[in-house]
């Protein structure tokens, strides 16, 4: 109850409206690049690690049908969070100030112009303004290609659970993200592709390159099967 009250109080402060509507959608498309490994938007957009963002404006938070939200998000949704320009602006500035314990392990976009631009871009895929035609999807959930036979390996979730001990020294099994990204509830293919991208040195993070470097294809598949299965 207390949490709800706080949230409502916070939202009304945010509703005071410090975000200016008027960004550059073309530039915003570029800024959206940093969101696109988790979120798709545009024609044919589907839920991936995060929900698809079509019609996000004026949508109630936590309402993308079929998407499994974190408990933190469900709490925020139950508290009446609706995605307006201002709440979205606040959220992407620093996700955790608005929704505690979200899986969205994104540091946020501190620059107001960048936020205005990306919101202008996203606005194109919401009802308002409705007269802008939908663009082709720009979001790429994957950044690396993996041989189909590797993607086809069916992982053993029990082995994945054991191996996940190596991940949970940093990544939280509850799915809460922040500083270290959430890795629960990923589509298995995305997980496999990401791990191979580290293994092949395409993704740059040294800890992940080291950790993925010694995982076999079967072990990656096992981890993917396990992490996909937990909430």
């Amino acid at each position: 109850m207390r949490r709800h009250l706080l949230l409502v109080a916070f939202l009304s402060a945010a509703d005071g409206g410090f975000a200016e509507v008027g960004g550059d959608p073309e530039r915003g498309e570029k800024v959206f690049g940093q969101c696109s490994s988790c979120h798709q938007v545009g024609q044919g957009a589907v839920d991936r690690i995060g929900p698809q963002l079509n019609h996000i404006f004026d949508r109630a938070a936590g309402a993308a049908e079929g998407f499994r939200y974190s408990a933190g998000f469900e709490r925020a949704a139950a508290g009446g969070l609706v995605w307006t320009y201002d709440t979205l602006d606040r959220f992407i500035e620093n996700p955790r100030t608005l929704v505690s314990n979200t899986r969205m392990s994104f540091r946020g976009i501190s620059d107001q112009q960048d936020r205005d631009d990306v919101l202008a871009y996203l606005r194109q895929f919401s009802a308002s303004p409705a007269n802008i035609p939908e663009a082709a999807p720009t979001a790429a959930a994957v950044d690396h290609s993996v041989a189909p036979e590797v993607l086809a390996i069916v992982g053993d979730p029990a082995y994945g659970e054991y191996l996940s001990g190596e991940c949970t020294s940093c990544h939280q099994a509850s799915g809460v993200g922040g500083g270290i990204p959430s890795i629960t509830n990923w589509p298995a293919d995305d997980f496999v592709v990401a791990m191979h991208a580290y293994k092949d040195g395409v993704r740059a993070h040294p800890v992940m390159q080291m950790m993925a470097g010694r995982l076999s294809n079967e072990e990656i598949a096992a981890l993917a099967a396990y992490f996909e299965s937990i909430q």
């Binding site: 001990g165 949970t168 940093c170 922040g178 270290i180 040294p206 080291m210 010694r214």
Partner: protein, 420 residues
Amino acid sequence: MTFNRRIFLGTAAATASLLAAPMVRAQGKPRVVVIGGGAGGATAARYIAKDSQGAIDVTLVEPTRTYYTCFFSNLYLGGFRDMGSLGHSYGTLAADYGINVIHDWAVGVDRDAKTVTLAGGSSLPYDRLILSPGIDFVDGAVEGWDVSAQNAMPHAYRGGSQTELLKAQVMAMPQGGTFAMVAPPNPYRCPPGPYERISMVAHTLREINPTAKILIADPKESFSKQPLFEEGWNDKYAGMIERIGPDFGGANVSVDPQAMTLTIDGDVNDVDVCNVIPAMKAGRIAEIAGITDGNWAPVNAADMSSKMDENIHVLGDAAAQGDMPKSGFSANSQAKVCANAVRGALTGSTVFPARFANTCWSLIDTDDGVKVGATYEATDEKIAKVDGFVSATGESDELRAATYQESIGWYDGIIADMFG
């Protein structure tokens, strides 16, 4: 009903063998006792309880009700964390995982009877005993210092009140005063720990006492992440920090807690704060259990079992295991390998091959984080390093800031992994 003597005897023999087999104990569930609720012990207790789903009786013995992490305690000295954020309770382990948490000291281990004695007088039987008691200090390691002097010259190498004391002393230093550290010899808890501490104390002094000086007496030729720390100290705290290595007498030190002096190779220095981090050894209970060889407890890498007793496992700082540094991350990693092996031995569940990893983040200044890490495997001889990396000097501000954010995520991650 007529008793057939042959059948009766057969049944009795079968019952006897059931009693002997740990996998199906007639008198109840197999029992695991864990001594020490830190990075190693809390993780091991949690994983055994969680994964065995009630099939193993887990008891955790830990004297303190709130565990204050040493990791991030330097950030408290730098003003980046408050003490409350470093304290964690055992409530979830008891309530959600069914672990029997006993707040007491283990004072004896009877390896023949397989029992642990507690300071309160009770005795706990075990099938497997896991020891993760952390460190104690080697008596007489720094001339003039013993634990009775730790209020005048704190070590702050266990979490909680010692760290608060050290911070209070830093805050109370006179303008232009001297903060001294006696650094420990290898091997010790958290190789970058003393040097991250120097960075954080320098950060605080730069804010409140910019003419203060920092003096380090160090018995080691070199230390973890040295190029990164030295680069940071030159850039951020120029002229403030002086380190005296063994070539200039850094290994030949004595202190006088009453006079507040630190003598390095015969040179007497008046100091205002003296952080003495003495040489370390395994927590005393490991010695009492008779499983140490010298200062540490040797273990088999595959399952962290003691080389002296197959029913005892040793985790974390207390273990002599091979190449892994003594860190919270290492203890947590070793605990999961041990938990899997212990569960397999007691319930017949699958035992997967051991694999270990470690990453240590350090903060040098605001948003200036660096890290070092490695992966390891079990060989017959030891835990052996496979691969590793370390942050580079001259990294961009953005990367350093991201590394710091990552360390915050790691802290939350490992705490969730330890305490549920």
